[in-house]
Subunit: 681 residues, 3 copies
Amino acid sequence: MRQILNEQSIRLGTCYYPEHWDKSLWREDLTRMLAAGIEVIRIAEFAWNKIEPAEGEFTYTFYDEFLDMCEETGMQVIFCTPTATPPAWLTEKYPEVLNAEIDGTLLRHGARRHYNYNSPVYREKSRIITEKSASHYAGRSCIIGWQLDNELNCETSEFYSDADHKAFRAYVQKKYGTPDALNEAWGTVFWNQTYNDWSQVYGPRHTVHDTQNPHMMLDYIRFISDSCISFASEQAEIIRKYAKEGDFITTNGMFGNLDNHALNRKVLDFYTYDSYPNFAYTLDGYQETDFMKDRWWSKNLTLVRSISPSFGIMEQQSGANGWTTRMDAPSPRPGQMRLWTMQSIAHGADFVSYFRWRTATIGTEIYWHGILDYSGRDNERLEMVKGIYADLQHMKEIAGAVYDAKIGIIRDYDNVYDTSIDIWHGKIERISDNALFTALQKSHTPFDYVDLNDEGFSTDVSSYRLLFYPHPCIMDQARAEHLKKYVEQGGCLVLGCRSAYKDMNGRCVRENLPGLLADLSGADVKEFTLLPPDEQDITVQTGEGSLPAKGFADRLSAEGEGSILGTYANTYFAGDGAIVEHKVGEGKVYYYATAFSEEAVGFFTERENVKDPYGEILKLPADCELAVRKKGDTSYIFILNYAGEERRVTFFKPVYDLLEEKTVAGELVLPAYGVEICRIV
Amino acid sequence: MRQILNEQSIRLGTCYYPEHWDKSLWREDLTRMLAAGIEVIRIAEFAWNKIEPAEGEFTYTFYDEFLDMCEETGMQVIFCTPTATPPAWLTEKYPEVLNAEIDGTLLRHGARRHYNYNSPVYREKSRIITEKSASHYAGRSCIIGWQLDNELNCETSEFYSDADHKAFRAYVQKKYGTPDALNEAWGTVFWNQTYNDWSQVYGPRHTVHDTQNPHMMLDYIRFISDSCISFASEQAEIIRKYAKEGDFITTNGMFGNLDNHALNRKVLDFYTYDSYPNFAYTLDGYQETDFMKDRWWSKNLTLVRSISPSFGIMEQQSGANGWTTRMDAPSPRPGQMRLWTMQSIAHGADFVSYFRWRTATIGTEIYWHGILDYSGRDNERLEMVKGIYADLQHMKEIAGAVYDAKIGIIRDYDNVYDTSIDIWHGKIERISDNALFTALQKSHTPFDYVDLNDEGFSTDVSSYRLLFYPHPCIMDQARAEHLKKYVEQGGCLVLGCRSAYKDMNGRCVRENLPGLLADLSGADVKEFTLLPPDEQDITVQTGEGSLPAKGFADRLSAEGEGSILGTYANTYFAGDGAIVEHKVGEGKVYYYATAFSEEAVGFFTERENVKDPYGEILKLPADCELAVRKKGDTSYIFILNYAGEERRVTFFKPVYDLLEEKTVAGELVLPAYGVEICRIV
Amino acid sequence: MRQILNEQSIRLGTCYYPEHWDKSLWREDLTRMLAAGIEVIRIAEFAWNKIEPAEGEFTYTFYDEFLDMCEETGMQVIFCTPTATPPAWLTEKYPEVLNAEIDGTLLRHGARRHYNYNSPVYREKSRIITEKSASHYAGRSCIIGWQLDNELNCETSEFYSDADHKAFRAYVQKKYGTPDALNEAWGTVFWNQTYNDWSQVYGPRHTVHDTQNPHMMLDYIRFISDSCISFASEQAEIIRKYAKEGDFITTNGMFGNLDNHALNRKVLDFYTYDSYPNFAYTLDGYQETDFMKDRWWSKNLTLVRSISPSFGIMEQQSGANGWTTRMDAPSPRPGQMRLWTMQSIAHGADFVSYFRWRTATIGTEIYWHGILDYSGRDNERLEMVKGIYADLQHMKEIAGAVYDAKIGIIRDYDNVYDTSIDIWHGKIERISDNALFTALQKSHTPFDYVDLNDEGFSTDVSSYRLLFYPHPCIMDQARAEHLKKYVEQGGCLVLGCRSAYKDMNGRCVRENLPGLLADLSGADVKEFTLLPPDEQDITVQTGEGSLPAKGFADRLSAEGEGSILGTYANTYFAGDGAIVEHKVGEGKVYYYATAFSEEAVGFFTERENVKDPYGEILKLPADCELAVRKKGDTSYIFILNYAGEERRVTFFKPVYDLLEEKTVAGELVLPAYGVEICRIV
């Protein structure tokens, strides 16, 4: 049986670096961890030299000695491939393994993740170190699973080395077959970019204004994602040859230019996330006006859950974060460490591993604090771990329960990639993305992200009473069919502006908009415009009041069975359609002709009666989060108070407080950063 | 007879890209254009591969087929040389044709204008493609003229390739003859920059703070300008061998580091401008407080008129502008497309070609909208074109009329270049440039720009009752003589601070200031200072009130016949002279010792009685523009309302409204973005 | 006897560039200088080509002719080595002498200081030109001393050429002996940076985020400093072979990444500073809210005094500063030139040389104005020099007097370097550095900077009643001992937060904090945190009121004899210790657990009764500076009015006004920018 995420209990771990500390500290460290409830450690992700100190010279004594001690003390271990930081002997001898800037400048040794995925040399060295590590250590009884590399695509998710250009050329050659097909797909006739030989094709290189062909960019990002997955896959295949029955393979994420869903599906047993909500309080990035702050990480956790329904946290923030050169953050306040742990669990994590046991005394990350400070003395954070461990003993029944949501928000990687290429697309997506999360959070309306690709949705969507698909600018026939099927079978789909005006290469379609979604939506986009900077208070009038238009305006007519539900209330296109409602089969489609505001999200969720689904059970302030995990018929409520002050919650029906082991009802006071976890009776 | 700018009518055109669209659309497109009043198209400026798909392989069928259809439908064509976007086969095989950053990093294929003017290979390839295109197509009856390249010096006007360094070395070797002469001209003794061999001489390269020798920089910019003109000239000479009688050669501009006056004089039949006033509403650059917004483009049009008294608009904004990677702008509001067309015509354009017929569905410029959207369906903008065409049928008599101004503002390229090299010069120039344009516009006082070089003024200046020459920091004897002559013959010249403190190499002169203008101005600059940042309310006291000092303060005495007309009113140099008035021959010179404010412009124009010259005929609000074109004794008034609300104009005398075909008088209401065009009776 | 800084008089000089001006001007210039009181000139620092116009070709006639004229007119000369601007013939032939950016891009000819200290070629060329210059000119009677190079480490203090990487490798090889020792010192086990061969070791190169190993960075900056000192030292040794008895060697500073104390100690006879207080009014850098403005230069002068108790000003601002490409400043206002001269003298300068005689008419620095403007005519600044010279005739008795301070602020180069590497350290240091200077200046409490290294303090600290050592994050045993000794012998030491948490390699220590200062301070840091961005009003409660916590909070307990003197008043660590007082031997240590505010500085100086030590003699406004120089028992008071308005000072006791030659008492009015210099009777 798998040792974590096995539906038996919620377990704690930590990240440990035996190579940073004198051997004499190891046993005491392991013993103190176990005493605090930490039963799993992750090791070795930056320790290539401890196994291969020079090219082709292998030694296993360091970890053998350490793993012996783990086995003696009863500590369980997640072992990593060390490929995130290639050794100096490797990068110095084979500079072709290094990543490069867009102008070709190499990213040198001395930081991390300075390698590229496509250098044949690096691929070979990565296979060798993986083979050596797995074949030697995989049989150890303390080992329960493996982490591939570390934070794939972290630091940078762009690759411009010669090896990458060559691999990209091969990638598109395989995809398109002939230069002419590529020319067609990339619209190279524009600005005379036409290629008549494969040797002329490169990934992005430095140009005037660093502008690039947007269709090439879509393929380039897909190529990066595929390169990363292929790199990880090679390692996983090797490990699987040696891993013991039940031992898992995972990696820790979640970074850009990467189809994390595909990575998880193709390579991993499950996915783990590194959760650092304290970034919200970093001094150089703090936004006074950002209401969501650390609660924003619930958005990330929602996305992780979409990637990997069963997931863990490989690095959960314990102390202050920071490098010597950038990022400076205060220590989490008392309670926040527990709050953020419960935030992870509320969203579905059944394994939480703290970063890290001891704060490093060396290197760039001396301010990326662990549980213990430099001295290693007992401290407040260690106390907090013990408290959390005690809490978890009351929560075992929650293990394996699934997050309960009636609303889904559709994402697909083609559109996600496009938002980073296309500032027009990016702008509306950011507006809607923020509005959706914020509105649903404030109104205590749990939601899931749902991935969509040509094969279908990443989950059975029939259980969602409402699906938002904010701006599917890129659309193809297969996906349009999946949407149609959801609606015909009774679903309700809400589309935002600019839907379906591009094809899979990011080329604009010549059909009337919304193109492939025109029939489904019953809407016709006659004209459109970005909202002008000097007229930002344009509104949409509906029967139930007025909604602010955001970012963009499609100007709509209703077609066929469609009917106009709202119109622009002002500026030169006052009276034009802004919301079209269209009944299709058993279900319904809304086309909302601008980007989403919190008010607009409220409008659709109220209209479809999916807002605040637990409102009959409890009432809580907007700045507390509600999450519900469900196991069979039993529902577990999590209430998370992110405020630095106490908050009051009212239960209209009695519930069973798991941590206090008693039934509670009526008004309850949550302390600052407090959590309430209860079973619905 | 020339088919456009022939004083017979004001004609419409559009930019068309047959290579972007399936052949099956061509005929319908041409027919629809003609139906809307569009009778001229510009083609082929980014289509090298359509004629030379591989090195030395030429094919003419694509355009032959298209031009056949033009001739069948009656469309007239401006054909372009395609050198703005060299093919991939060329840049890949000959990377020396690429432009580079100052540190030598090449600007790669994939954008546009990534070539340099000085690579012998590129010069040869450019000559060949021009020869092939001209020799094959020039005889076609539909062709009425040629455009050279596209937007010379757009994207970047700096060139740092090896070929440029070599050419620059040859350029200064020819100019100076010996290293010693160059050392003297560039003041290289400063910081020991002395060259003792030509091989040591380069154009700008990366240095600490990227600071460069300012005298070298003046020559470098002149070199860029000459390189560009020489490049264009080679193409023009080839085309002239083949062009039919009456067919013209032009190019579209107007960009930096280029003597556009010389380009037009030496190479072109006339100049065309690309007018995009909607840039004023781009989201990432919008300035709430910038009063002039789209009206600012009248400044550019004034400058175009100075370059080319007869001119056209090759690209007139029709839809929203934007790239996928930068610049995002709303669609022009109803009326703005017509307003901006009339703005161009008011300033003298008798040919207006819209950018572009169809919005591209591919490439970086999918958001640089044309008349039609992606679908090509009929839309509001097409309706607007039809309306404009109808307007123009009422305005034929205006064709060939010239803009009427009694005030000139002198510019010369040496000082223009210097403002981009010298932040002290640049700062005052920007202040005065803005104040002059804004004050004259608001007060409805039409003006012209006048170019000055050693040969004299670009136009006969005797008709100007007032010439401003804000900051002729660089001055030489020849130009001083031209100024003197204007004044002696009865002109009135207004000089601003810092006049004549540099020679043609940008070296400061050792004479008492204003140097070569000291005798003419009757002023002596005893001391001077930038205005300190903590004392920005320094004023100049005159008999008629107080003027704000701006940017800089020369502290003056009057010499000879000069008399002090204003003194500083405060700070430590209170009482020092700030305006000197000097009568010379039949005329007069003012030396204004600081940069210009709107108030100062008002002071001089009122004093010389040249403000609001049409004030006896009509009164209009400050945010409407007045322009007047004159043909023989007949004057045509243009009133342009840039406001999003209606504005009222009062005619004190009856005028004939051309569009309404009736005499009007008294109060008239202009709608938002409305125009009024009338003949003075 | 030394001709300047000889305790006989305070002398004036200027910087002169005979190579910029026609020979015919020389004699007149020298004569006018002498007439104004300028008796010393500095020459030749950018004039390599005037002695070696081509490789290996030497000529001496230029300076021989000029020095003849100096000797005829009686002008004294400081001669420079010209190595700050290597010739074009040198950099073109030997590009390895150039400095480079971190990515390897060379910094090219055309600016200044584009060379590196470690190229063997440049070292050799530098030795040759120094040998040639010294051997030929050193015997001239007019020469009184030598300046090495010009502004070492100005423009950039980072070096990344191949020569630097090689030299750095040799430097650390010598320091550490084996790669293993280096690995240990640099903590390379972190992120697997481990080196197993010297060939893998480089100085900083471009990495992701340009982050570098912080321990390597400390060594790299030490290496730069040593490289610079070694470069200067070679020149000094050569000059000393030829220099006449009494002729001095100096250089002008004061720039970063350089142990100026060591430079002065090892290489120079004394140090000179380039003082440009008008930078406070540069338009592109002006801070309305910055109270200290030009008075901030008193901080720099205090530091110069620490480096070199006897010092001069080699470049004292006379006119406006500015380049053509950056920095634009107004002319100093009347009085400021004299004020800033007296500011230099008040802090100990007995030689003040103005930059520069004539404003250059060529090159990047045409706006770095000298005494005379381009024309060379008599002007206000020349008048001011004459007035200052007259003042100095009344002040001769002050020559040699030393600045009088009872408070010291300890600095050490390891911590200074660390603030530029480590943003956490840098942040608190900047807060405290500003607060200390501002509070002590406003309260008229003179202070000195004191350098500390393993050998001890740079001066006898027993005379200081209070030593602040704001944030000695890096600490070693030797320095801890020196501090202890100071305290035991009766001194009072005030430490700020984060003391002693790093060792000399910047590695965090594992001892309880404040580590090596724990015993001395009687404090124990239980927990710590950066102050969160959303709680910036955290305060420290003391018996005498409340002090704002700044930047960081150590949370203290008192240990041993320590006692809690103040506690945090709010947030989650309210009640935790914030000030610990600890009596040790005859003296006392305070540990102040946050960064310093002006209020905190006031708290400790009042508590120790060292605030406003001249308060019984006079009272003056906060925006006037008080400085006192002392010679034997005689004290000279300088009062400097930086305000643009008059200020009133009250003398409680009669003093003798040196400039007015009379005894004054009671209220005195200082004009705007005025100075008062008097002897305490």
